[in-house]
Subunit: 148 residues, 4 copies
């Protein structure tokens, strides 16, 4: 894994910090490398579905953001990232103390970046994959008025 | 559209009410028919992404739940619903006062139900589609211990 | 449905005719309107999977092409279409005498068009939906050297 | 990678051989291990799209079959496999002398297996990834009359 420049890392973290939805679900950054990001989030009762597990949509939010962040880390300074689509397979109920989403860029295109996202549940020192995502991130010129 | 029996509607609404994540995002039920459900949610600043629009993951939660609810409305009494996968295309930024997700069952299989989800942003009396989802919902026997 | 101009229709049909894969599977154009296309294909034993039904990949080819053609019908003259991703839910075994794929543009963006594809099996005058697709089609400037 | 038992391998290869669509596109088995399969296919002009590259639908057929085969390799003797859905991201034009699809089981569930598929183009000793797939394979009891 390649480290990010200080400038790029600061830019990615600032973009993450502007997302109020990330604060609402308690997400934070675990690790940062070029095109390869890990976010994490604790279990929270207020984000559960009817069986008491974390809602699939919340798991999806974390995975989507890990992918978007990974894409942003490879983009030029004057570009912003926009998710155009993703698909997620839910492999197991999201049951655990903590959830980690890893986003990796599989194809760093100039207009579109394709990413792979994996979400793991952690409990009592054990780790289990609970979701698998593929996502398309569009590279938007910030001259359009969109910030990263 | 076919109306649901009182019993089935009560069961679907009770399942929805058990989802704390739905309360957290402020979602409620707009309309209910057999295999065809509408949920709604107001704009909320705490659920925004970095550009100030509703986070794609929140839009996804609403669409996923509309699809799951639509599937549950067609299931036998002793079955619970579990999302196995979905894909969402984000058509426009989720900008509006209110968001409505409609879930419809396209294929009511015995083991798997395939659903189509559409999310619309409403603002100043106008409605614009912002997302398109397809989802697979597994029919789980509640004898497995899983409630609906 | 809006009719296409003669010029646009001719251009779409010429692009379709250049696809040797379409001749190989026996596909032809059934109907053409702006952003709304139907292709068809007879059953063929040489395109079956292990249970004697049409292979899911062949059904997918037809649906992908219907979506691509629908997108192309709305593009400017100097643009070519490229599928960037699609997802298909296979609703029922592809059993029938003839298969019809309908592609419709849901979101005609300048850079990306999102399409909905539906495939139906026809047999003895009956029609049954066998597949549901969502697809992203990228608008490529032909100045890049890519023809439509 | 774990080797398959002779019996399971024979069964998987026999199922592959029954797929006439695979003969039509010239596909063959490159490598076989438990839950991890590689199929290959030469370039063929009759399977091209309008720009002279292999049609995305053909690439999809190969990836779908690699995933299905990988799932079948982990199933009990009395089970058959049925693709319920897949999504594919097309990363680069399918340009090459030969195409290799690798299918791996990510989640070997009792009812549903989730697989990851990757397709590579090979040319002049070089290998480039051209597609990324995620797929759901349903485990069907052959007592239903469906053979593997």
């Amino acid at each position: 894994m390649t480290a990010l420049s200080e400038k790029t890392e600061a830019r990615c973290r600032a973009s993450f910090a502007r997302q109020q939805a990330m604060a609402t679900i308690g997400a934070s950054v675990r690790s940062v490398a070029a095109g390869d990001i890990e976010l994490e989030m604790p279990f929270s009762e207020k984000l559960t579905q009817q069986h008491g597990f974390m809602h699939a949509g919340v798991i999806t939010m974390l995975a989507d953001n890990a992918c978007g962040f990974a894409a942003l880390s490879l983009m030029p300074d004057d570009a912003a990232v926009l998710t155009t689509e993703f698909k997620i397979n839910l492999l197991s109920p999201a049951k655990g103390e903590r959830f980690v989403a890893r986003g990796k860029v599989v194809r760093p295109g100039k207009k579109l970046m394709v990413c792979l996202g994996e979400v793991f549940a952690e409990e009592a020192g054990q780790r289990k994959q609970v979701a698998l995502m593929t996502a398309s991130m569009m590279v938007i010129e910030t001259s359009t008025g969109l910030r990263d």
